[in-house]
Amino acid sequence: MAQIHAEVALGALSDAGLESRDVDAYFCAGDAPGFGPLSMAEYLGLRCRYMDSTEMGGSSYVAHVGHAAAAIAARKCQVALITLAGRPRTGGPPPGTSSAADLAPEGPFELRFGMTIPAAYAMAAARHMHEFGTTSEQLAEVKVAASLHAQHNPHAFLRQAVTVQEVIDSPLVADPLHRLDCCVITDGGGALVVVSPEVARSLPRRKAKVLGHGEAPKHGGDGRLDLTYTGAVWSGPAAFGEAGVTPADIDYASIYDSFTITVLETLEDLGFCAKGEGGRFVSDGSLVAPDGRLPFNTDGGGLCNNHPSNRGGMTKVIEAVRQLRGEAHPAVQLPDCRLALVHGTGGSLATRMGSATLILGQEDA
């Protein structure tokens, strides 16, 4: 596991034109083995003056980019390295199981009913359908768009384009979610490098600029859980506000897609459409690159490409950077992607979750 962290770290540094001795800040989350950043700094041979191990599940790495930008702005560091790695497909416990959960105060009230990760998202989908008339066909449109993108990605775990009917016909995992409403389980990793403006100017590689960041937990509060909205209702406006842009300005979006319903609720909560209108929004090819209204997840996303360590935030940032650099696959590259949004969803949708939103621009933005 640590080895994958090292491989992606060296790959990202090399891509940026940097070496590990240039790194002065390190960020990781719950997937890092041992004592988190302490074990990893030793293993990677880093001499850091800043560390952050904020753990909010799959959205952690999206939040880390915001934290790194803030630390750099505060002159705490100049070159921040963020890594993720995991092998859920070939080793390790199933998604959503952890011994720490048993000791959490909510444990005795949540761990005794046969909860699974798909079941948690299924209950959000069922309630969304009940309140807004969302259909399984509309949810399937999200998977169809992702699969149209994945067919161009030779590294995608699932490369075959699928139809709405094929999604509906796949076996129910937890009603109303079918197997093809669920993301893949894959091994892998990813790394990002966030640097100060001074360092950025010295590097030959085309950069993406962090323009805005927002994050928020959402939880059951005093017990009046609402499954129809996510923490994006707070993280989104914070990120848009910091960047000084609106949803209408966004060219491309990397939207966390652990399940099709994750995308639907997130699109609504970020303001790409009104609450309850997500089903209609995704139904006319809006998400399909390069010509849709809001092309998303052009690598195939978690639904088709990969979901390393059961945490999709890292790869969401990476594909957005590809779009801003003009380095996505030609079949799905936007002609002039100037503004990209990245949104991460950690934990369990609308239940106990961490939302993180980034607005990224081209380097001259």
Binding site: P94, L103, R112, A126, H130, A174, G221, G223
Partner: protein, 135 residues
């Protein structure tokens, strides 16, 4: 009807009154003396107002399905129990609690359906609060 597992749960000072009442066949909940919020999950302070004076009372044990799913693929000891109904039930007192709906026929469960509490007991574990469709 297939029986569902009764997994272990850690009894803590925060939740001990809940499980003690359940052992006696009652659904007891804490209510905040300051803001009247019925607190879920049980604890010794009020997350709504920050108050630390709460009084336990016996709830009706009735509610309605807020959302549910039929789990087709359970994990671990739940694999053999599938398909089973996992749900959030909105208690008449307000909180939405995670639970199971006990039913021979999962297709009978609807959002909004009235339900009533069932206390299920297992070996070496505190009782568990589940529900069945009400009449």
């Amino acid at each position: 009807m297939k029986t569902l597992p009764v997994p272990p749960a850690t009894v803590t000072p925060d939740n001990a009154p809940f499980f003690a009442a359940l052992q006696d066949g009652r659904l007891d909940l804490p209510r905040c003396d300051d803001c009247d919020a019925v607190v879920w999950y049980p604890r010794h302070h009020c997350p709504a107002c920050g108050g630390s004076s709460l009084t336990w009372f016996t709830a009706s044990g009735r509610g309605a399905v807020y959302s549910f799913t039929v789990v087709r693929r359970g994990q671990g000891e739940w694999e053999a129990a599938a398909p089973y109904v996992l749900a959030y039930v909105e208690l008449d007192e307000g909180p939405r609690v995670l639970t199971n709906i006990l039913t021979e026929d999962p297709s009978q469960v609807r959002i909004g359906a009235r339900v009533e509490a069932v206390v299920e007991r297992g070996e070496g574990a505190p009782p568990v609060l589940r529900f069945r469709l009400g009449v």
